[in-house]
């Protein structure tokens, strides 16, 4: 009898302790923010946030927001923006895939929306800046719009971010997959005359937008050579799609393959093709070609696009600047392993530093009086000077972000870190946000001077 009661009391105690732990952490962090006309903005600080994959399947992207944070830390150390320090909250949304586990540390019930609710309703951020993932950010479009929160520099090349009439305070960052597809089409028509072209795309916006770009660019693809694969196969570990796709293209004698896949799958396709003895000319989206992540020698000489300076260049002042800023942020050092005063930077690091610089510039241009409507106006009118080699520019009708890129060739230089080598002509292709926008070819890429107040 006594034993039974003790037992039950013990359980009750442990369970209620757990329950208390659960609830208290959720409940006691209530809203203590002072009332202010603009959420997240005080006289000497501005709070912004982002949902990003810090753990789980897409954690390879974690250095992006860490690099951005390093820029904000740098700016804060040098007096902030118009007297305000930037507080950047990064919340792990596991790429909106937490329910799968996959090494996600944020908890199975975490979604991009739930983490965005924490940013908006608990932390009262001024805006979300640099949140990552196409499907992940699509899922919070409506919530952020309803609550009037600007959604700036979404880290994805989907064309979903360019809907200024429906979502006026939504802004993308990188060139769209459509723009990239158009550039590839132009390249193929000039360089691969008479060849049979095939396409493999991820079965979501990434693949469908890329294909749209190829078609908008006037490339004729046979339906039999236009294939897809499911990214979720990476979760189940199935490579059936990959094998079938490669087999089909090989059988159809395709000589040039345009591949819109994320790095892990790029590696998978290259490996399978090698096993099949199939070696077409590969043209790989910038998103999936990152040679430091793909790390497959079959990728050598593949064509891709890039919108950042070559990692080995010595002529671009942004390269040492970004390195200096990242090295100064010791709190985030674990995101930049092996970073020395001379080591090459990665694409992720440039990418994150790039939008952080752009946000700081837009905020600075807005002046002392910061409002949500004001930042949208400022985004449209600011002339950005960022590490990008292609213009980053927004207009009333185009919220996409960067408008093109340069053709690059993957270089595996004998045991060293492979990198994207920009084509010698240094040609930059840019295009507008609509289907019929022509591609403009400029002879040399941009090297923006670093604004003196950032140095």
């Amino acid at each position: 009898m006594f034993k039974g009661r003790l037992r039950r009391t013990m359980t009750l105690l442990s369970v209620s302790a757990l329950a208390l732990g659960m609830v208290s952490t959720g409940l006691l962090t209530g809203s203590a923010n002072a009332a202010n006309s603009t959420p997240g903005v005080t006289a000497n600080s501005i709070t912004i946030g982002a949902t990003v994959p810090l753990s789980g399947l897409a954690a390879t992207y974690a250095p992006v927001s860490a690099a951005a944070n390093a820029v904000f830390t740098w700016v804060n150390k040098h007096g902030g923006v118009n007297g305000r320090k930037i507080k950047f909250i990064r919340l792990d949304d596991c790429y909106n895939l937490a329910a799968y586990g996959l090494g996600c540390t944020a908890g199975a019930s975490v979604t991009t929306l739930s983490q965005t609710q924490v940013l908006v309703a608990q932390d009262h951020v001024f805006a979300t800046v640099g949140s990552l993932g196409t499907a992940a950010q699509d899922s919070v479009l409506s919530y952020l719009k309803t609550n009037g929160v600007p959604q700036l520099f979404v880290n994805s090349g989907s064309i979903d971010w360019n809907q200024p009439s429906k979502y006026p305070s939504l802004f993308g960052y990188q060139p769209s997959y459509v723009a990239e597809g158009k550039i590839f089409a132009k390249y193929i028509k000039a360089n691969d005359v008479g060849q049979t072209i095939g396409f493999i795309g991820q079965n979501d916006d990434f693949g469908t937008n890329g294909l749209l770009g190829l078609q908008d660019g006037g490339l004729n693809l046979l339906p039999a050579n236009t294939l897809t694969y499911n990214a979720a196969d990476g979760i189940t570990g199935s490579s059936a799609d990959l094998i079938a796709d490669i087999g089909t293209l090989q059988k159809n004698g395709v000589q040039v393959v345009v591949l819109d896949a994320v790095p892990g799958f790029t590696n998978g396709f290259l490996t399978i093709a090698k096993a099949f003895g199939y070696s077409p000319k590969w043209i790989i989206s910038s998103v999936g070609s990152a040679p430091d992540l793909v790390n497959n020698a079959s990728e050598a000489s593949a064509i891709t696009t890039d919108y950042f300076p070559e990692i080995t260049t010595t002529s671009d002042p942004w390269v040492p600047w970004v390195r200096k800023v990242l090295r100064a942020d010791t709190a985030d050092a674990s995101y930049f392993p092996g970073l020395t005063a001379t080591s090459p930077l990665t694409g992720n690091e440039f990418y994150g530093a790039g939008w952080a610089v752009a946000f700081v510039e837009a905020l600075k241009a807005e002046g002392k009086n910061v409002t949500r409507a004001g930042i949208v106006k400022s985004m449209l009118s600011t002339t950005f000077a960022t590490p990008s080699i292609t213009p980053l520019k927004y207009s009333k009708t185009n919220h996409q972000g960067m408008q093109g890129g340069a053709i690059a060739i993957i270089a595996y230089n004998g045991g060293k870190v492979p990198f994207k080598a920009l084509e010698l002509s240094h040609t930059v292709f840019t295009t507008g946000g609509t289907k019929s926008s022509p591609i403009t070819v400029t002879s040399h890429f941009i090297i923006n001077p670093i604004p003196s107040w950032l140095k």
Binding site: M1, F2, R5, R7, R8, T9, T11, L12, S14, V15, L18, A19, G21, M22, V23, S24, T25, G26, T29, G30, S31, A35, N36, P39, L54, S55, N96, L97, A99, Y100, G101, G103, T105, A106, G107, A108, S109, V110, T111, L113, S114, A121, Q122, H124, T134, A135, D138, S139, V140, S142, Y143, T146, N147, N203, D204, D205, N230, A231, A232, I235
Partner: protein, 357 residues
């Protein structure tokens, strides 16, 4: 139609109705005092509680096991999502009822072969179903939106509700609480139906089916029909729960319904207490606030969240919780209410009873 008639309870429903109503109202009052993030978590928990309750009915009352309820959730969610995608102005109630019905129909389709199977074979069959749903949703992208999924318009706070709030964050707080209140009301309605079902003739017949199917047949219960109807009800609950969950997430995507979710549902049911209403409530609460617990334990122990240990923290916490519960309260956390009641009630009255050690 005597099957339908048997669903009607033989006892008075008044007390149950009043009980459920007061619990729902109490929860609604509580939502006013919760911070908005906790409100959103509570809303998700309410949706999951509905699904757990449906599973609880299937396992606790008809004695069948299902690893397919995440699949039924997906079916309901996609039914609601596809409908809302084409008919944006449909009232929410209708969308949810649609999810309930379509979920139930999918349950019927799965139940017809499934009810011939028992134990692990049944588990395997239902597992296959939930494994099939995700690729189906991915590959019929013209209907389902593929991997990107479909999007709901986020819930709009009615004007009268907004007026209850003030301050700079009124709209955000009202929005979070409106979604929580909505989910709580839907859960309240579903729990009321299930409470009735538990006490109906069908409910009693179901318990007999679970405990002794020969005896049940002797009593005139049609086994196949009883098992099938249990499946249909369970799937209908999963359908409406899945739709509600997706509405709260403002999107329906294949990634929301992995097979692992079925296992999570099973764990939540066992933790709370199989076959009980309050067990499902406890399961929902555990689900909604588990994220805080993981973060709390991580910060208490100083574990690096990106290390291997950190990555498996949720699994470890759930398994410890499951083991502790199984050791000390095999009938789930809900069975602890008996000693609780004794603690508060019996002591002043019972000094006479001498305990033998």
């Amino acid at each position: 139609m005597d099957w339908w008639r048997s669903l009607r309870t033989q006892e008075t429903t008044h007390s149950r109705f009043i009980g459920m109503l007061s619990l729902t109202v109490l929860t609604l009052v509580i939502t006013f005092f919760l911070p908005p993030v906790a409100d959103s978590q509570l809303a998700g928990g309410a949706a999951i509680a509905i699904v757990v309750l449906g599973l609880s009915w299937l396992t606790g009352w008809s004695g069948q096991i299902s690893l397919g309820n995440s699949g039924f959730m997906a079916v309901g969610a996609y039914a609601a999502g596809i409908w809302a995608h084409h008919h944006t102005s449909t009232p929410l109630v209708f969308t949810l009822i649609l999810a309930l019905v379509v979920g139930g129909i999918s349950g019927l389709i799965i139940a017809i072969p499934s009810t011939r199977l028992r134990g692990p074979y049944l588990a395997g069959m239902t597992l296959a179903f939930s494994a099939a749903v995700t690729p189906l949703a991915q590959n019929f992208s013209s209907v389902t939106g593929g991997e990107g999924g479909l999007f709901f318009n986020s819930l709009v706070t009615p004007k009268w509700f907004l007026h209850l709030f003030s301050g700079p964050y009124a709209a955000i707080n009202a929005n979070a609480q409106w979604s929580a209140d909505l989910a709580v009301v839907v859960a309240g309605v579903m729990f009321f139906f299930m409470a009735n079902l538990f006490h109906s003739r069908t409910g009693r017949a179901m318990r007999l089916v679970r405990d002794n199917d020969v005896a049940a047949e002797l009593m005139g219960v049609n086994l196949a029909r009883a098992r099938t109807s249990a499946f249909v009800v369970s799937a209908a609950f999963a359908g409406i729960g899945g739709a509600l969950y997706s509405l709260l997430q403002a999107s329906v995507r294949p990634e929301t319904f992995p097979i692992g979710l079925s296992i999570t549902l099973l764990t939540l049911m066992v933790l709370g207490g199989i076959g009980t209403l309050s067990g499902a409530v406890i399961g929902g609460i555990i689900y909604s606030f588990s994220t805080n617990l993981v973060a709390h334990v991580n910060s208490l122990t100083g574990v690096n969240p990106t290390s291997n240990v950190g990555a498996n923290m949720q699994g470890m916490i759930f398994s410890v919780l499951l083991i502790v519960t199984m050791l000390f309260a095999p009938r789930g956390i809900v069975s602890l209410k008996t000693p609780l009641r004794r603690l508060f009630r019996a002591r002043p009255l019972a000094p006479a009873a001498k305990e033998v050690h």
